[in-house]
Symmetry: C2
Subunit: 329 residues, 2 copies
Amino acid sequence: MKEELIRFPAKDRHISARTILDASDRIRPVIERTRIITNTFLNELWDCEVYVKCEQEQPIGAFKLRGASNFTLQLESVESKSGIVTHSSGNHAQAVAYMAHQLNIPSHVIMPKNANKRKVEAAKKWGAQITFCEPTIESRIETADAVVKKTGGVLIPPFDHEWIVAGQATCALEILEDQPEMEMIFAPLGGGGLLAGSALSAKYFSPNTTVIGTEPEQAQDGFQGLSTGKKVESFVPNTIADGLRTPVGQIPFDILKNLVSDVWLTSEKEIIDWMYRIWTELKLVIEPTSAVPFAAINSQKEKVKGKKIAIIITGGNVDFTQLPGPNET
Amino acid sequence: MKEELIRFPAKDRHISARTILDASDRIRPVIERTRIITNTFLNELWDCEVYVKCEQEQPIGAFKLRGASNFTLQLESVESKSGIVTHSSGNHAQAVAYMAHQLNIPSHVIMPKNANKRKVEAAKKWGAQITFCEPTIESRIETADAVVKKTGGVLIPPFDHEWIVAGQATCALEILEDQPEMEMIFAPLGGGGLLAGSALSAKYFSPNTTVIGTEPEQAQDGFQGLSTGKKVESFVPNTIADGLRTPVGQIPFDILKNLVSDVWLTSEKEIIDWMYRIWTELKLVIEPTSAVPFAAINSQKEKVKGKKIAIIITGGNVDFTQLPGPNET
């Protein structure tokens, strides 16, 4: 059974509306149904109706628990003492460690050596064994494979799997349930699990809702890939948005190619400015990755004027020791 | 009429249960009924049941709107073009400016020249005319008197007035309504409006609830005054908690002397550490002042063990340009 799971059996590849609704039921006991808040500052600045989905309020401080729990709770072998394994720039690592802690099984996490220290500490807090690797996707996968071989654990992929995408899709599902007639949903684009899941939820549950990706200019592999229809295989990202340093996965890319036409870009300076602006105006701690959609929308605000839009705050795990000041960009 | 109001007519001096309930009704259209949240991290760390009242979610980012609105909405002369005047280290300034903006009247605010820049900007945003003064209570009162004389505006005192105390009392009233059988309520002690109001609400609506003040060691005029029963008239505070640099007012002091027996102190290092800890664990932006009760409780956590306690987060207006890093203390 475990072997099959690792190979992603073909029968499970299609993510239907039912798949997403089942995921939502499955993970309900584990995740928080996070708040959707409105804010006068944003509404007035952009002259539109803005709804902010607060995924930084998940127990691990990020949406990643949705996919990780949807995957882990489908494993028939979780009782296994060999545990679960993953590679992650940070928030998915915490999600996997948290799930292992809940299920009382071991977890092994491979993180790039430049990972956000706060995220490393948090994964450790939930009992994960950490292995550091080079900050490339090749090194991450290679190291993870070695750890899987050594421990016999099950790999929980960070984004490139249908169960992960279906789990992340539950976030947009909640937005559409709580706020019908949403016109646009914005999310950051890193590995693509959240954006692909959001696009699927919109397609099934609110076909008139447009889903738009947002990316740092300096990590625009998703933008380039979706512009040309051909996934970018090699890109060296250089962004403070540590959650978006991963390339888009194949499964999310194939979904996004059909469902998402727009990726909006933004600069590093705007990302930092907007992180501090959201801290100031909304009193919410968001991480740089979560500032990306706000920054990207702000430079194209004429396109959201008069509309009802949702923005997903993906996480709030900030390493305060390694942050540029508000005036340093 | 205006003259009378400025002189605080004797007939209004008693703050009864009815006074507080009336204040609550009066200010309901203006203020936010803020959330009370629980958090696993705090519950486990202190082995008790912690409820956090989120006053940083008020429209001005602090509880001060309660007192300022309760005062302003009782003025019969607010239609007056001469407007309202106050002196404040920051959050009350914003509250008065916000009320003036809502009522479409002018506001004049006297702030110490070392005031948190973010709070100055926010008061300006609501249209306040700012006058800077020396960072002493004498200079603040003197400058405010001069502005009142010049403009004919009505002074809205920052804490030393029954209407202000009654307004601030509505915060603890909400805590006690939402979470009955609360055993302890913690709040910072600066001018004393919030703490005195909380003590009155506990006395009237939940007599078994103990109200405890918290103060920086380096601004411990309240602690010293309540220890000796004699208000400290001269103290030079030196704390990052800019909301607590004011001396306790006479009216709050007289209330506190009867109702509050304990003020817990904490160090500057603990205040900074706890501000970052709350940002990290609760994903809420709180200002240094709001970290004071958390820091103070942490060093006496055996006293809260097993209890149901509430902590008031007073505000979230942080000047990010002037903040020590998490490791700089």
